[in-house]
Symmetry: C2
Subunit: 569 residues, 2 copies
């Protein structure tokens, strides 16, 4: 007989931590650094603060050889996290503030917690989080994780005076700086390239300080949240949108009872009979408020007066199947009642459950759908424009969801919510870091995959200060440098396809390709965010960008060739 | 001000379902097939039943073009799932029976639920699960998933007479058989190769039947559960093992009160005073049972008699820090009390919390650690062999965990718990499927990575019925065919490194390589189980196996070359 168990999400990621980039001390030190740095940059981005990120890694015992325990600390000047949320944000997996549809580095709600988890299981030391949201008071927490329950354990909490706003997080973890060091330095250096408005300082275990001051003084426009787009919406999402849509069921408490009984004309007499209430409702139906109609309808259906209605909780009004399901507090059970179609109560209840019309739903809940597009869609999908969402059967919801994918006249997703780096800052960064003889940059116009808008920006640099031979590809997504597993990334797939001879570039050229994709959702292949899936639309934009830039390079190579030939003569 | 949310694990995998292999209708149809087939095979393996797996995929509407809804049904003759567990096993993510340390195809507790989730969000139809554990009665469930809450919703449940034992699961999902079909057929065919004792029947949407009867009549030895190995054990695991180790805290109910009061000599008098109880304890200490000593110690420490003790719940006895933490039911709060070191109560409580000695802990809780190895380890790690686990400070637990990784005299992990296919059945399968001129097979002796034992089995086949040109690699792990993302797999990494000229094999040879890794834990790179990480020890075994087989191939090629030359002459 098999023994079954439920495991928590933290337990799942503890057992399978290589999925999140914590496979060994080398990789884990790197991943912990990036998770904390990316959180700091996200926080500064969202509050419009030019980021000052301070990263320090020091060995606990300098005489021990790698792998060995390190103390990793990352501090920022961002908006911090408010006290009550700190234990949850850092001590719970799948808890965060970045689940909405907005461009951000974080998206899973687990990066920081995983780094803290790895520290705890290798050194058994708690994490120290210090946060000030107002620059006056700072909350300092020492936390451990209850990995089996996915809950934080608060060991210490104190509130002290603060000098400035910001957050710092410090963990002890087993790492291998001798192996991870060069990639951590690359990560810091590349972060500075793609975030030219951020200042990053890195104090390494050897006592060296790497400082990258901002080269752009002003913050770019922050990314914004957008409503979903019809493409890429499935039946589950539609179903949830219709459920939120149904007007809220009011609770039959004393205040409401008083109000409704008054309207029904039995307010004066204390607890007038149900019969009196229903008679009053029938008599005054057209003058009743929507709320009174709803309560009268429930009274009629369930045979209870307002006092009786306070003993139940209406859970579902299924207008399509003409049933009402409610929880009876006294009997402690759920009951379902059928409704007759001609009763007034049916009309009132159906009105509640019915929610918005199809066209109102589309224009309110999706981006860029106007009234005429909504009506055109309704015709295409075979629905009446005034069809109430709440009355759709499951069959109809599927038909609606499929039609949303197939209708070709929706405007493409709105890219104005995105915050690309911009061609100019990208070229500035490339020229500063590589000092090339030639560089060219392009920002493609926005595209979309599965309803998610994205923008590809790319740069190519040649010669000059570039020491490496053979095209070296620097990949970025939502301003995060991606340094591992390039073999499975869409950008490498495209660049490996290039026939270099077509562009007058010799074999093993001193060439750098910088690629940046930003989107409300990057289709990462793994929880460790190391490579991007080759969605068709993304692959196409990358290919077009690269071909454009390589043609520019080819012209330069030809001019250079002619200039050198002229020189020789 | 940021708004925080907790999402459930099903919500996480709904939003990020490409991580689990559900990125589009083509891939999703394939992944759904394999998740259900692998569950059926796992169930039959664990019950020692030669598997009969019936897979059917039919289009809901044959006139619609792909992608379109399909009904996918997988039925087996395994042990089924008992009624109360069915909604949880199939309707909850991270719920399953395969979290123990044993070779199995499943390991995450989410495969079946993800396939059901994908079906629901594309067609809104419930899953139908039918299960009979005894061949007399069958439970039939219709379930939907509450994705936000990670709970099943039971729409229907009935119990009918059954003809035989087994389980079937049937979902409606949007798929693309025109694109997924060839890989699904490959999957079925390769499953038959690596599981020669299983019969698999596949009825496809076109009405064709693919039947693979078993070519081996008897079941192999089933894999078994093993205790963990010292290597690859971290502080969290050690800490949990010591916590389980502490003897259970008995509940101070009436029955225990009677027993203890009797032992302390106040049993007769109804509710003798606390003072009498403690005096009795002091007088009779050496004759008291362990349980009576424990309760007397608590009485002394908390100043409560047995009746008073029933109003608290002891949560933690921290012998190292000499505190006891308990929940006071009446005050509804947690309290911590310090203990003096000389009191008898300290000795008794410490005995409880102390748990096993280090050597007893090692020999009982780990595989292959005998008394002498345990004592040798204690010396190496700098602990007294009789040091009680429960009295270790956090610092000492870390020291213990690190020493366990560094001690070189532990026996390697026990591979007898594994169930490899075997060289002979593997070669039989290879010869049947490829009809080659030459084949050679090897089963490497067991190795281990991070304390997990594994065995590599490999086969090479050349010429004859092999039509493809260029080495074609068939990858298997724990008897699962891996058909996607071979670029990131350790086996391709090794085979791409091969210098074929060394083995007298021309370019683009008609060559097949079959690789099978079995382990108590396969280090997959993704939740979708498509490729295996290149752990050093695994890469080494694969390389050695392949080199050995290619040398055999080289001898064959030379003999063949000489024979053909002789023929010419
Ligand atoms: N330095 C910081 N400043 C402000 N808020 C922070 C900071 N670090 C973390 N947070 C908050 O804690 C939450 C959890 O962080 P965590 O890294 O675990 O998840 P995430 O960033 O949302 O997603 P991901 O797993 O993709 O990184 C974040 O959503 C954010 O609200
Ligand atoms: N055909 C079956 N016969 C018997 N038990 C089954 C069957 N299918 C599923 N189960 C049970 O349901 C549980 C959940 O299955 P699920 O596929 O979701 O997870 P898993 O197989 O444990 O892990 P994985 O996610 O790696 O597949 C299994 O652990 C198993 O106990
Ligand atoms: Mg994060
Ligand atoms: Mg499974």
């Amino acid at each position: 007989r098999e023994k079954f168990n439920q495991i928590s999400p933290s337990e799942f990621f503890y057992r399978n931590r290589d999925l999140a980039g914590f496979s060994n001390p080398t990789r884990s030190l790197y991943t912990a650094v990036r998770e904390f740095v990316e959180n700091g940059l996200d926080a500064c981005d969202q509050s419009g603060t030019p980021p000052d990120i301070r990263l320090s890694i020091r060995a606990v015992d300098r005489d021990r050889p790698d792998p060995r325990p390190y103390v990793l600390t990352v501090a920022d000047n961002g908006p911090g996290v408010e006290s009550s949320q700190i234990p949850l944000a850092f001590g719970t997996v799948l808890y965060g503030s970045k689940f909405g549809l907005k461009q951000a580095r974080g998206m899973f709600g687990l990066g920081a917690t995983m780094a803290i988890l790895y520290g705890q299981i290798t050194t058994n030391r708690p994490v120290v989080v210090k946060s000030s949201t107002d620059g006056k008071w700072r909350d300092e927490y020492e936390l451990l994780l209850d990995i089996q329950k996915n809950k934080p354990v608060i060991l210490k909490h104190r509130r002290v005076e603060a000098a400035k706003r910001g957050l710092s997080v410090s963990i002890s973890l087993e790492g291998d700086y001798s192996k991870a060091g060069s990639r951590i330095r690359d990560y810091v250096y590349q972060t500075s390239l793609i975030t030219p408005y951020a200042s990053v300082t890195f104090d390494d275990p050897k006592g060296a300080r790497f400082q990258y001051k901002r080269i752009v003084a002003s913050m770019p426009e922050p990314p914004t949240v957008i409503r979903p787009h019809p493409y890429g919406v499935d039946v589950e999402t539609i179903r949830r949108m219709t459920v939120e849509n149904a007007r809220e069921m009011p609770r039959a408490d004393e205040a409401l009872a008083k109000k409704v009984n008054k309207e029904l004309g039995i307010g004066g007499k204390k607890g007038g009979s149900l019969g009196d209430a229903l008679a009053g409702a029938k008599k005054k139906w057209t003058k009743l408020t929507g709320q009174a109609r709803l309560m009268a309808a429930l009274m009629a259906l369930l045979g209870r007066d307002m006092a009786g209605l306070s003993r139940v909780r209406v859970d579902d009004i299924d207008a399509a199947n003409r049933t009402v399901t409610y929880w009876d507090y006294d009997a402690s059970e759920s009951r379902t009642v059928g409704m007759g179609p001609d009763a007034d109560h049916y009309k009132a209840l159906a009105e509640i459950a019915a929610g918005d019309t199809l066209t109102a739903f589309l224009t309110k809940r999706f981006q860029r759908v106007g009234k005429s597009t909504a009506e055109k869609f309704a015709k295409f999908a075979g629905f009446r424009p005034e069809h109430r969402l709440g009355t759709m059967t499951n069959q109809e919801l599927v038909k609606l969801s499929e039609a949303l994918q197939k209708f070709t006249d929706f405007f493409p997703p709105d890219p104005s919510c995105l915050a690309p780096l911009g061609a100019e800052p990208l070229e500035k960064g490339i020229r500063k870091f590589f000092e090339p003889d030639f560089s060219s940059v392009v920002q493609r116009s926005a595209s979309a995959y599965s309803g998610f808008p994205f923008v590809v920006e790319m740069g190519v640099a040649y010669g000059g200060g570039i020491q490496t031979r053979g095209a070296k590809v620097y990949r970025f997504a939502n301003r995060i440098p991606l340094l591992y597993d390039e073999g499975s990334d869409v950008v490498l797939k495209v660049s490996n396809d290039i026939d270099w001879k077509r562009y007058s570039v010799g074999p093993d050229p001193p060439l750098v390709i910088v690629s940046h994709i930003c989107s409300t959702r990057i289709p990462y292949k793994t929880v460790g965010k190391e490579n991007v899936a080759d969605r068709q639309e993304i692959e196409k934009e990358i290919r077009l960008a690269l071909q454009y830039l390589l043609r520019k390079l080819a012209s330069y190579m030809k001019r250079k060739g002619r200039a050198e030939a002229a020189k020789k003569r």
